[in-house]
């Protein structure tokens, strides 16, 4: 059981989940923005930011080959010349990575050859977060353009759009219901110009098929940066700029709730 972390300290690290021991250290030239294991758990990918004269790269390491780790030599390194990658997730079977960019584009990179297999240009502004469904068949992208969109992981077909009036920082798909949760708010810099009322920043629940909002949870008093469903779908967590992580367990009514259809 391993954990992979990437940081703005220009490194990507592999850890043992049980003991907390660092298993590998991969130094990079610029901040590591996003990282993840493929389905098998043998291949890792991470992207580095476009910083200090260095390009944005999407790097792939095979953990079964210790030489790659030792030499800090990825078996595949894809440069991104234009808009940097802001978030990326693996495909269902580890053949490709779906990456969201600063300009709202989503590119599907082959993990074998590095070529772009598919493209999607649905968002008009930066993609803040991408999260997959529990079976990896779909993913949801959260964007600064005030929407979150549901895509098919393999075909990159745009399935659904969820509209709000604020930038969406993070979105997640429920493992057991046709629901998605979204969190966002103003950019940290602009917070003081908006509502100063406590608890105004809400996590918003949308019905995945109807694209309609059906619930909101207040509590954060700063923009929400990250949301996630528990794998069993009975609770969700949100982390915010206010420095708090909130864990909410759903009432029985949540599971019974239905929009009239």
């Amino acid at each position: 059981m391993n954990v992979l972390t990437g940081s703005a300290d220009n490194s990507c690290r592999l850890w043992d989940c049980e003991t907390g021991k660092q298993l590998a250290l991969l130094n990079t030239n610029s901040a590591v923005r996003t990282c993840g294991f493929d389905f098998s758990g043998n291949i890792i990918m991470f992207s580095t930011d476009k910083q200090m004269g260095y390009q944005c790269y999407l790097n792939f390491f095979d953990l079964r080959d210790p030489q790659q780790i030792e030499d800090n030599q990825p078996y595949l390194s894809i440069p991104c010349n234009d808009a940097k990658i802001t978030s990326a997730v693996w495909g269902p079977l580890g053949e490709f990575v779906n990456a969201g960019h600063e300009n709202g584009e989503i590119n599907q990179f082959s993990a074998k050859s590095g070529e772009i297999l598919k493209k999607a240009k649905e968002h008009s502004r930066q993609i803040n977060d991408i999260q997959t469904s529990v079976d990896l068949t779909m993913f949801i992208s959260a964007s600064k353009d005030n929407t979150a969109k549901l895509f098919d992981s393999t075909s990159l077909e745009h399935i659904k759009t969820f509209k709000t009036e604020r930038p969406v920082n993070s979105a997640a798909i429920s493992p057991i219901m046709d629901h998605v949760v979204m969190g966002g708010g103003q950019e940290a810099m602009e917070v003081t110009t908006t509502s100063t009322r406590i608890g105004k920043f809400e996590a918003r629940f949308f019905h995945a098929a109807y694209e309609e909002e059906f619930g909101r949870v207040k509590g954060h008093f700063g923009p929400i940066n990250c949301v996630a469903f528990h794998p069993d779908g009975k609770s969700y967590s949100s982390g915010g700029e206010d420095g708090y992580v909130r864990i909410h367990y759903f009432d029985p009514q949540y599971f019974d709730f239905e929009l009239e259809a």
């Binding site: 389905f39 098998s40 269902p92 079977l93 098919d152 009036e165 110009t193 098929a209 109807y210």
Partner: protein, 673 residues
């Protein structure tokens, strides 16, 4: 004809060294020769002026001076001829200019010049007489101009569900849309990108939508919002319509020249003609020209002067402006052709407010005021009352107190009553077609809202006062009785909906950071909005009923401005309106039924839409699930034969541990066993 042949003066020399010099000289000569005055073609520079006063020899010199003064503006007069008969001038004269262009200028500008009441000059080119005399006897039918049919210009009024329209500017000005207001959701009537470059304006009766462009303004109307008219005024920034919709006034800070005043232009809307241009120093108090309610007059105030013009001639009423020393402000009654103006104190003459009837210029009422600091004129919408808000510093005190001088216009000799206010005034507003007014006064946080009623016997009664209000603006319904007290911008959008028939608060609500409140023309709906121009987030407009029940929240990307389309005055007579009010119960029943039907239709539509979306989604998920199942073997392979598809796929792998921990102890005595 008298045209000099330039070529005859240029010598040709074959000698090398000399030829260069000669060529240069000849080129110089050519330039100079080009400027050689050419013999004027005699008749092209002559104008004939008719309607010149017929005078005897003793006044001839004076007449010639006057004519000379007027006509030498257009050029150099080389010859003048005053034909006489029986010792008097005939009444028409001939003037010859130095060049035909100057003659044309004279015709263009002096034709129609009003010398005095009896004499308006008619100026024509002498050559025109020739032209008119030789008109062929054959009649040629003039070419038919295609009829521009804009359709029914009042089309929107005929909406069977009586929906009012409103314009919305959003995407920071990139898009403008016209919606029909339905309680359920707005219905798009028209939507265009870059329809206007800055903002839009409706004409007072709602017939036209005016859009702004670098080169001028355009008017749109009819069912499809076709372009009705265009007015070219480079750099136009402000406009104003006459109340009758016959004229539009445009202002541009760019286009003013000393000779041709073009800062303000008045246009005839139907013909598109430019009627008159005016100078303008500053547009600080737009509209500079204020119109009388019937469009017969328009007036403007300059230093110590009130200039009143009449339509359609666009000339000064009685050919002169009114000298009113120290005039500070004026305004027209919205119901009659009466102007109210005030002048401040002048040495030992007190300040005064004057009501003047037009066009007679009779002063129907004068009111002296003492120790005045400032005055503001507030007319009631029908012209029934005038309120003059007077800020005074009473003798011997330092502070400023405010009085409201209420003029009752409908009574003989216009009696005036005074209401004294203790604290500073934030806002004042008359009930549009009634006899009440509302005042916001005090200092934050102790702001009070007071309601007064002007009774027939002259008493002005304070009906009610609400204290500690979060309000800085008053918005009456255009039909009266209902109103909204709003705390806009810095007061974070606090709203209070009031029924002034018994002064009750119907609802207290909030639209956070609202910057504007707009009533629809019928007084049924209120829109509160957060404009991108004042606040960069949460730009939206909300629709409320007149009672304060929130109906819709419409978010629009970078929403800027919403304006209701005004309605033309009703065509029903007062008797007809009385009849309808009497039968209101009958109509209510029909309307309620209609509402119920449309409600259920809406829910049915929504339900159908959802069903369709769910089916589509299910189909997609089924296909995805199928593929997922087909890929199971690959997944097993990738994870070394371990099935991880479900949370409980690997129960064998789990270790179950039972932990007991102490929660509570309860001691229950069982009594004697």
């Amino acid at each position: 004809m008298g045209i000099v042949n330039e070529n005859t003066e240029a010598p040709v020399n074959t000698d090398q060294s000399e030829s260069d010099v000669t060529i240069i000289l000849s080129e110089l000569l050519l330039d100079i020769l080009r400027e050689k005055p050419q013999e004027a073609d005699g008749i092209d520079s002559v104008v004939v002026v008719d309607n010149v006063p017929q005078v005897g020899p003793e006044r001839l010199e004076k007449l010639k001076n006057v004519i000379h003064k007027i006509f030498s503006k257009f050029g150099k007069i080389t010859t003048e001829f005053y034909p006489e008969a029986d010792g008097m001038t005939k009444g028409y004269i001939f003037l010859e200019y130095a060049a035909p262009t100057q003659a044309l200028e004279a015709v263009k500008n002096a034709d129609g010049y009003k010398l005095d009441k009896q004499h308006t000059f008619r100026v024509n080119l002498f050559t025109d007489f020739d032209k008119y005399m030789t008109i062929s006897d054959e009649w040629e039918t003039p070419e038919k101009q295609p009829f521009k049919d804009f359709g029914n210009m009042r089309h929107w009024i005929e909406d069977p569900d009586c929906r009012d329209q409103y314009s919305v500017i959003y995407e920071a000005g990139e898009r403008t849309a016209i919606f029909s207001n339905d309680a359920k959701e707005p219905i798009t009537a028209e939507e265009r990108a870059r329809w206007t470059e800055t903002y839009v304006r409706w004409s007072p009766k709602g017939t036209y939508l005016a859009t702004f462009h670098q080169r001028g303004i355009a008017l749109w109307g009819g069912e499809k919002f076709k372009q009705i008219q265009r007015f070219s005024h480079q750099g136009v920034s402000l406009i104003d319509f006459s109340p009758c919709e016959r004229y539009v006034v445009t202002f541009s800070p760019l286009m003013d020249t000393k000779e041709d005043p073009q800062a303000i232009i008045i246009w005839d809307i139907l013909t598109g003609q430019k009627k008159r241009g005016f100078h303008c120093e500053s547009s600080a108090h737009w509209p500079i020209f204020k119109w009388s309610h019937d469009g017969k007059f328009f007036a403007r105030m300059t230093q110590d002067t009130l200039s009143i013009y009449e339509t359609p001639s666009m000339g000064l009423l009685d050919k002169k402006s009114l000298k009113i020393s120290g005039i500070k402000d004026f305004s027209w009654s919205p119901g009659d052709n009466i102007i109210a103006f005030w002048v401040p104190e002048d040495k030992d003459i007190p300040a005064r407010v004057t009501l003047m009837q037009l066009p007679s210029r009779q002063e129907i009422r004068v009111r002296n005021l003492f120790n005045v600091v400032d005055c503001k004129l507030h007319w009631q919408r029908n012209g029934d009352y005038l309120c003059v808000k007077v800020d005074r510093t009473p003798k011997g005190t330092q502070g400023v107190v405010t009085n409201f001088e209420i003029f009752r216009m409908r009574e003989k000799q216009v009696p005036v009553d005074v209401v004294e206010m203790k604290d500073s005034i934030i806002a004042f507003a008359w009930e549009p077609n009634g006899s009440k007014f509302a005042v916001l006064h005090g200092e934050s946080p102790r702001i009070n809202a007071s309601f007064y009623h002007v009774k027939n016997n002259g008493k002005i009664e304070l009906i009610k006062m609400f204290d500690k209000q979060q309000a800085n603006s008053i918005f009456w319904s255009p039909q009266g009785q209902f109103m909204v007290l709003a705390g806009l911008r810095s007061m974070n959008g606090a709203l209070a909906f009031v029924d002034t028939s018994d002064c009750t608060m119907m609802n207290i609500a909030e639209h956070y950071m609202a910057s504007d409140v707009e009533w629809d023309p019928t007084g049924r709906y209120v829109v509160t909005s957060v404009s991108w121009w004042s606040h960069k987030v949460d730009n939206a407009y909300w629709l409320w009923t007149f009672q304060g029940r929130l109906l819709q929240k419409n978010n629009k990307d970078r929403f800027c401005q919403l304006l209701w389309r005004p309605r033309p005055p009703t065509l029903l007579s007062t008797d007809q309106i009385k009849m309808i009010k009497k039968d209101l119960k009958k109509y209510s029943k029909i309307f309620e039924q209609k509402d119920r039907l449309s409600q259920s239709k809406a829910s049915k539509e929504l339900v159908d839409k959802r069903r369709a979306m769910m089916e589509e989604y299910r189909r997609y998920r089924e296909t995805a699930q199928q593929i997922y199942q087909e890929q199971k073997s690959i997944r097993l392979e990738l994870r070394g034969g371990v099935d991880t598809d479900e949370l409980d796929s690997n129960v064998d792998d789990w270790e179950e541990e039972t932990i007991e921990f102490f929660i509570n102890e309860e001691i229950i005595p069982l009594g004697d066993l």
